[in-house]
Amino acid sequence: MTALASANLPSQVGLLAGRAITHIVRAPAQVVFPIVFPLVLLAVNTSGLDAATKVPGFPTASYLDFALAVPFMQGALFAALNGGQDLARDIEGGFIDRLALTPMSGAALLAGQLGGALFMGVVGAVIYLLVGLILGVGIAAGVAGALVLLLLAISISFAFACFGMFIALRLGDGQAVQGFFPLFFVLLFLSSAFYPRDLIEQDWFRTIATYNPVSYLVEGIRSLVITGWDAGALLPAFGIAAAATVLFLTLSSRALRTRLTRT
């Protein structure tokens, strides 16, 4: 019986990922907002913070070039929390018991949910890149750079999605998952997302930004846009995304065992 179950793993993942994507596609309001809001914020900030580019030492002439990296982070975050809430809903409502009674493996459930979150992350990333290109942002690292940018954005999405899975499994409550949104909001603001790290005047703030992993994720994406190929920015970004993925995937598998109880 167990042999049969694992042989079916790809098809189980397919079924569950399909379901996760169906959830996203059938609740367009939940998708439109996470994709549109970062763009609105970008538009407002580009005008509102244009003065920043006049500050001596600012790396770009246009704030848009500088800040384009931010929507990718916000999009990844929204996709992750959305996926987390989806899973939390299954736990709260008892659907997970229904799944537990089938030969479905826990790994398939995780993979399926991640598939859904990843789908949303990819769609968002492609849209942000296209919007940036349409608005005239030049990718300093060229076409290859744009592809690497998408790869990095997707890696970050994946890492955040693993986090979303973990808190959903740990807390089992949709509202609690949503409670993490402000936390990430804070993390994003206390980083170099909106202002270059080396130009931050307040020492304590600059210290926080320096220790904040989000800074390096943003700087990684940004470097492809404004600098070109900068290993010093790309390696930390990919590294943090990979490390976070491994960490939260491990924690998720452990947490899954308590949620998917069955003998």
Binding site: A43, V44, D50, A51, V55, E201, Q202
Partner: protein, 259 residues
């Protein structure tokens, strides 16, 4: 009891409940306290380099510049959070109890408004303490600060009436984003990070027409001891008050009709 006395007692009761709930329930208290504090810290801390941009003329320093913003933001969002409380009251049936018990329903809305204003005052005091503790430069006199407080309370009242009108029409927590978005957008299509003269592009054009720009400039004027844009702020607030009061009242009628 005269009609006025009745209204007063209803408003008092509702206001007391709102204040009591806001300050004894951490789920209510924290967002309204932390949100403004957070913006204060993030903007004053992270973006202070902006004061080095050419033509950035604000005599009292960037921290004070952001304090002026945060006072208005706290007031505006306090109104939104009170709107959430009203929507929740409707969703969980408490509002019906209030409407049955209170002879004068207008008093209920006034009560909510008063509790929002009280909450705004406390939050601003907390942010003020935080700012002073971090060495914020305060050039305004006691009179200026009172003016600032009055301005913030007025913004709070208007924001509450707007949110209340929405909450009473939608009568459920689904109304939350509908209440939040307009205020957020109004607040951010204004000179948040830099003075108006340094904003570029279409946002500049919108901000010139946005009443919140006047409120922010007046607020910052008080902090810097150079009161500015007071007349226009008062005029805008009076106008907005009239409009939102009517909006809230018709919202109340809609809620009454729905039973």
């Amino acid at each position: 009891m005269s009609a006025f006395a009745r209204t007063r007692s209803v408003a008092g009761a509702v206001a007391w409940r709102g204040i009591h709930n806001a300050f004894t329930n951490p789920a209510f208290l924290l967002p309204s306290m932390l949100f403004p504090l957070f913006f204060f810290v993030a903007f004053a801390g992270g973006l202070s380099g902006l004061q080095n941009a050419p033509d950035f003329d604000y005599p009292a320093g960037y921290t004070s510049f952001q304090f002026g913003f945060v006072c208005i933001q706290a007031a505006a969002f306090g109104g939104v959070f009170t709107g959430f409380a009203i929507a929740a009251d409707f969703e969980f049936g408490f509002a019906r109890r209030l409407m049955l018990a209170a002879p004068n329903r207008g008093g209920i809305v006034i009560g909510y408004m008063l509790s929002a204003m009280a909450r705004a005052a406390v939050v601003i005091a907390v942010v003020f303490a935080a700012g002073m503790a971090s060495g914020m430069q305060l050039d305004g006199s006691a009179g200026d600060l009172l003016g600032l407080l009055a301005l913030a309370l007025a913004v709070s009242a208007v924001s509450t009436l707007l949110a209340a009108g929405i909450a009473m029409r939608l009568r459920s927590m689904q109304a939350a984003p509908v209440m939040q978005m307009p205020v957020f957008i109004l607040l951010f299509l204004a000179p948040v990070y830099v003075p108006l003269n340094l904003i570029a592009g279409w946002v500049h054009d919108v901000a010139r027409l946005n009443p919140f720009t006047a409120f922010l400039e007046a607020s910052r004027g008080f902090v810097a001891g150079e009161p500015d844009k007071i007349a226009i702020s008062v005029a805008c607030l009076a106008g907005l008050f009239a409009v939102t009061a009517l909006w809230a009242r018709s919202g109340l009628r809609s809620a009454e009709r729905a039973g």
